[in-house]
Every structure is written in C-alpha cells, then in structure tokens.
Symmetry: C2
Subunit: 309 residues, 2 copies
C-alpha cells in the first residue's frame, strides 16, 4: 500500500520561521506549496526538483478559494501575519489577519484539507504568571496582537467539529536566529559589536524561554505531522536571562565589553520571568530541540557574520 | 451653530430587528443608509422623502471599502449576521461574519466614522449563571454563534484606541415580535392556534428575559446615539416563563387549550433561568421599554393576524 501524497500549503513561507520549515517538510515527504505576496520567489536554495511550488496571492486582499481548490492541500501550516518589528503589537493589520485567516481555513476545509496548524503566541497568556502552561495559565492578552491571535484560536476551537479539520495551535515563545529583523535586540548586539560600536541595552535581568529559529520550524513541522490538537507551546525547557544571552552573543562577536547593560530603560510591561511549559511539545508531539542556547547563539553569530562578509 | 448631519449606516436593516430601527433613526435626525444583499428594497413603508438610501452589497463576498468611502457614515449600526433559525448556532457562516465584520469596521474607521454599535448576544455569557451581568458574569459561550460574537467583541475592545471609533456592543436577550421567523416558538403557537391545530411545546418552565422587537430596536438606536462604551445588555427587567408567554399568546389567538405543554422534550442545554441585568441600558443609556410582556404579546398576535388576513 502506497501512502497518499501529503501536500502541505505554507503561508509566511518566505519569512523568518516559515523559510526554515520548507526543507523539513520536504524531508518528511510533503509536496510543498507556498503562498506569498511577492511576484517571484528565489527558491531559498532548495534543490530544484523538490522545490516548493510558489503561488502569488495577497491573502489580505484576494479571495483564496479558487487557488486552494486548485492546489487541494491535505495540510496547512499558516504562519503568515503582520510582523513589522515594534509596530505589530498594536497595528490594526492584526484584525485584517484574523479575517484573512478565517477565510483561509474555510477555503482549506472546503478544498478537502484534513490537518491545519497555526502560529499563535505566548502573548495570549496572562504574563503575570511565571510559567505559561497550555492547560492552566489564564489567557489574558495585553496587546492587540495577543488578543487577535487568541480570538482566532478560540474561533478555531469552537468551530472544530464543524470544520472537519484536525487543528493545532503553536504558541511561539521567544525565537531568535540569524535572519532576525535587524532592529531586534540580538541582531543589534551582533551587528553593533562587529562594527566596534557600543550597544545600549536594558539591564537584561528578565528571564525568558528562548528558542532557535530552526527548532521553531522543526517543532511546527512535527506538530503538523502529528495529530495533537489544541494549543501547544513552541519552546524548549531551557531558560536564560537576556543579559546572559546578549553577553554570549557579544563575546562571540568579538567584544563583550561593548554592551552597556542598564543604559536603556526596561520596556513597559516586561515581566521578570516568562517560562514556557514545554511538556506537551516534548511528550505529546515528541519534539527534541537540536540547539541549546549556547549552540543557537554561536550559530546565529556565525551565520550573521557569513552573511555580512 | 447647526449640528453636523449624523449619517447612520445600518447593516441587517431589512431583518427582524434592523427593519424596526429605521424610523427611530429618522426620528432622531439621522440620514439613514442601508446595506443589503438583495437587488431592491421595498422602502418598508417609510415616507419617500425621508426614506433610507439602499445600497446593494454582499458583505461576505464583496469589498466594502469603496462604498463606505462614498457614503462616509458618521455612525454604524451593524446588525447583519447569519440568522437561519436552528442552524445559526453551529453554522460555519459565523466565521465568515466575524471576518466580514472586521473588514466592515476597518472600512468604517477609514472613512471617518466616529461611533459604532454592534449586535452581540446573551449566548456569549456562561449560562450556568442565573443573572447575566455585563461586569461580573463570566463569558463562556457554549456555541459557535456565541463564540463568534464574543471573539468579535473582544477584538473590538482590544482595538478600540487604534480604531479611533467609539464602540458599544448590545447583547440581545430573547426578542420576539410579529415578523419573527415562522418556525420560532411564538410564531408557531400563534399560527397553530389560529389554524385550530394543537401545538406541542416543552413544559415551558424555563424563565427568560424577553423583549419586544420594537424595544430592541429602540434600545439599539438609543445606544448608538449615546457615548456608552463596551457591552450593554439589550433587555428589560421583566422576566417570564415560556409557559406564561405561550399561554397568553394562545389565549389571545383564540384557544389556550390547544397548547400541549410537556409534549416535546426540553432542548438540550436550556437552563431554567436566564435573567438579564438591565441596569446599564436603563441607567447609563437611559432606555425605558414601551412594551411590557402582556402588551408586546398582544401586539404580536394582533399584527400577525393582520398580516395573515
């Protein structure tokens, strides 16, 4: 008996996390289709014969039903969202993405899809808790971004039986990696130190569950390939202070002393500790990270330097 | 100083509740615009000179931005939703209406609108509570309809400052009236008794906050014309058992003895008591109902008979 072809449709597949999912999906035997707004796609260096098929569409503006009926994906990995650094927390585009995501999942179900995984966020949780657990931590987002992701999650949960699609929702914790947007903390530190400039940081005492972007991608692909349903934290069980992470990145970039901790105020609403419960991802999905923080930071510094040179 | 023209855009304006809002809006000095799917509109018997302007659009299928930019409404009363009797509780069209409503409010804000009121539902509340209060009762919908309305409410709340629109959310309790869909309980009782047929009912012991459709419409218009924000129950402070309401309707229709209480099982998940806290609507919005239950039932029977003859 030949297993039926699994056909994955990926949105946001050219983005920070999405780009890292493509080769994993191919490895797992998926025929991969990408949706994207740009007119062309560079193929992301993947071998031509197995290269994902790229379909140009603007999900915020265009009706996707005909396209999905033509592709007939069995699996959907919906990572696309408004992600402009800094602005995304309160942008009204969050509402547009809720609407577009609902239209997408309706079209996916109508075209015969059976399994869908969506990108959620740890910002759906009440951040007054220290450990953020899928089963027990209250959901109380403090931002429009968190509220929008949560609303979509709750709608998918409520519509589960009617949609006839098995769904899971990956709540991403604090991802980092070499393709991170330049304005973000780690990129700023690496680029600054490499340029011999002082880098102003907060005191960096806040502790977070960080996860390397390749592990985020692997976790999403494992989740898509499982039948686990509902919310699953996308995180490892390793925590670190921002200070330790930044110090390591600066040291590996050439000069730890260029980082000025305490030179900037802590951002408003930054709790001292946000730790993910990673039990569901580890035990139910069977995921194991390939990068601990030291390795992930080393890889980030190495790849960012390679790109800059 | 001449007050600026208030221009109200009403969706669902040809429906059960929406149709009753039109003359109230005109009375309050609004220039009224209706959106509707049908090609034409009968004018609802309103005087031609003040008749609302009708614009044909299918909000589920069409982009409404150009139309709203042309109308430039100052006020939005969004009542349209999927309302097929029986089916609406679990229909996937609920998701489509969340998406369409988000697009609508974005277009309304972009076209310069300042005040918007939306139709919510008492089914957003946890029905294990007896008295459903905006400030204290947990929100825990048991249906896709309730979850969809709640998700939209929470998104509007989270986006309030960014939208720059003053918003309120009217949670409708148990409305009744002569234009009620024929399959609904009260219509079935009146039509059945008038035809001399026995009508099978549940035991009818459940107690509800009922409200006459004209009062629902008046409450929404009063809310639109106020600056009260957030959720407001659309209900009176009068409660009644289904049995008492049905008995009165049957008596006024000719023969109370044709109603067979207990001949049908109670619908699943029907709590014995659902009473609205009506304090916000009465005290903050300043609404007073014009119909008590006896008057509302009498009017319903009278108008339904007039229509049938």
């Amino acid at each position: 008996m030949t297993p039926a072809q699994k056909r994955a449709l990926v949105t946001g597949g050219t983005g920070f996390i999405g780009a890292a999912t493509l080769s994993r999906l191919i490895e797992r035997g998926y025929e991969v289709h990408l949706l994207g707004r740009k007119a062309t796609w560079d193929g992301a260096g993947l071998p031509w014969a197995k290269s994902p098929r790229f379909h140009q569409i603007d999900l915020l503006q265009q009706d996707c039903r005909d396209l999905l009926a033509a592709i007939r994906p069995t699996h959907l990995l919906h990572l696309a969202w408004y992600a402009e650094h800094g602005a995304f927390w309160w942008a009204l585009e969050n509402l547009d993405w809720v609407a577009a995501s609902l239209r997408l999942v309706r079209a996916f179900a109508a075209s015969g899809g059976t399994r869908a995984v969506f990108a959620g966020t740890c910002a759906e949780y009440d951040w007054s808790a220290d450990t953020l657990d899928e089963a027990t931590t209250p959901l109380r987002p403090a931002t429009l971004y968190g509220a929008s992701k949560l609303a979509l999650f709750q709608l998918l949960q409520a519509a589960r039986d009617q949609l006839g699609v098995s769904t899971a929702w990956g709540r991403i914790f604090f991802p980092y990696g070499p393709r991170d947007q330049a304005g973000k903390l780690l990129s700023a530190v690496i680029d600054g130190v490499r340029a011999g400039k002082a880098v102003a940081c907060s005191d960096g005492r806040q502790v977070r569950s960080f996860i390397y972007v390749e592990d985020v991608a692997r976790a999403f692909v494992a989740l898509l390939d499982s039948d686990v349903s509902g919310a699953v934290n996308i995180a490892t069980d390793e925590i670190s202070s921002v200070r330790d992470m930044v110090s390591l990145a600066a040291r590996l970039s050439g000069d730890e002393s260029l980082v000025q901790f305490g030179a900037r105020p802590m951002q408003k609403g930054e709790p001292p500790l946000l730790r993910a419960a990673a039990r569901r991802l580890f035990e139910e999905v069977g995921f194991r990270p390939q990068f601990n923080l030291a390795d992930g930071i080393a890889e980030t510094v190495r790849l960012r330097a390679a790109k800059a040179n």
